[in-house]
Symmetry: C2
Subunit: 328 residues, 2 copies
Amino acid sequence: ITNRKVFKLHGDLFLKSLRRAYGEVPVIFIGDGERYKNHTTLFGIYNGMFRANADRRSWILAFGGGVIGDIAGYAAATFMRGIRYVMAPTTLLAQVDSSIGGKVAINVPQGKNLVGSFHQPATVLSDTDVLSTLPERELASGLYEVVKCGAIGSESLLRYVERHLSEILSCRPQTLAHIVTEAARIKAEVVARDEKESSLRMILNYGHTVGHALETATSYGKFKHGEAVAWGMIAAIGFGRELGLLRSDEAARLAGIIRKISRLPSIGGISLNRLWNALVRDKKFQSGGIRMVFLPRLGDARILTSVDPSNLRQFLGRFVQSKGELGF
Amino acid sequence: ITNRKVFKLHGDLFLKSLRRAYGEVPVIFIGDGERYKNHTTLFGIYNGMFRANADRRSWILAFGGGVIGDIAGYAAATFMRGIRYVMAPTTLLAQVDSSIGGKVAINVPQGKNLVGSFHQPATVLSDTDVLSTLPERELASGLYEVVKCGAIGSESLLRYVERHLSEILSCRPQTLAHIVTEAARIKAEVVARDEKESSLRMILNYGHTVGHALETATSYGKFKHGEAVAWGMIAAIGFGRELGLLRSDEAARLAGIIRKISRLPSIGGISLNRLWNALVRDKKFQSGGIRMVFLPRLGDARILTSVDPSNLRQFLGRFVQSKGELGF
């Protein structure tokens, strides 16, 4: 399962190798982009599988970015009550984040990823060579999730990104292989201890409370996912500073790494009301206190379960007004 | 989640009790019958849940027969990646079979239950009092699955059905409670040892290889599920006898119990070709040998993985031609 854009870049080579190993390999194409991650595409995938005479012992191979991984994985989770699948992610974001952990889903009119499942891939096959064809902004977007992994789980990964930023941005294969491996390892360790997100797994949502709300409030048109998470981390750093939950030198260091990666689209002009409504409607929202992830130290994360909503709302008002400049 | 037919019979009382315990309990109605177990109904359920502001901590209560349990359970398996649900089955078949074991699914144009999941209910709440409103044929249909449970796992349950048949058919509460408890226990024990049907769970499919094919070949219009399974068991008994896999006294005893329960709709006139095509297209079918369940003794089941297809096809030809009369 792939799309024509990915297939045009890397499909022939991959398919040739697959056919040599497995014989006939039927290809199902889906549309390119988040708006195709819906139930129409899903039923198109099922139909394609029936046409190809797939049965319970068939495998799905998801070849593409996060959208393809999510919907192909969900098809694998539900076709004949679950068949095996392999993720072959082709974006940095998918290699370090969405391909790991078994969260698969489709979007519905009420929101993103609101219908889905937990279904672990049998294998994740990340070839960093394919990343060299990524647009710069797409690469940076994935790198913010690498920084998030470092922030919550590995100070040494953060240090590596600081020191090797130009090699990463110029797609030096060894450097990319290192950050993909480390980020995947950190995420896989967290997921292995809490697959269904009963508690620990929430630390992977560092920067995502505000990040998701920014995406929703701008109808997913303004920010790439990683960019929204980058802004969400900057907000979490600022809010954490206000609450005295993060040291000022560490706050400055983390914000510095994020800002050095690339120039983020501005958050100026975003309505606080829209942002706040999106935030409280998130499926992670718990009435009463809001859950947020904070960093007692870089590389170590804690979940706060009872963040005062009015406190956070006030902070976000100032944050948006100052366009994210909070003086550190 | 229920339908208007079930709700009219038992809804007020149940809802009153639920509201006393939980406050507001939104009700989602779906159509009555297998043809509503599709993705249109599924998305109607999701929409109803969003309208009711359901979130990850919400529960689904499936109140009805197997169709409601299957689709409501599948909605629970996939809504926000899985929420908890309770089965409150209102048919004997659902109480002894479909509510136990976590198999949930919808139908697609290509076949029944071909999109689904494994998602265990938090509770199964079987009230045998509701069974007294069942049509006779529906009650008998469930009883065939009880006989199947006895045949594969408990000779004493078979004996109980033999001895208490008239009390069962007149819905004596204590008698029904015994067979529901025993059948559920047998199924739950098998599922606990092999949830995903890698091997052992297949013994629950005793009588289902031919049973499913009969349902498909008659477009689900002629037989109730239990009736098709009853014919499937009679076929398995006959075929098992031919292969010398079942003692003749035990074959006669099991066939006798099945025939005493009720008069089955005739299998005369069913096309062998249609029956055979349905059988080999079943998702349980494995190319090469066919898997079937046989009984070395009543109460004990074995899976044969390499039944010769041409042998089985010949047997079925004679079976259909003789309208299921095989001389024992």
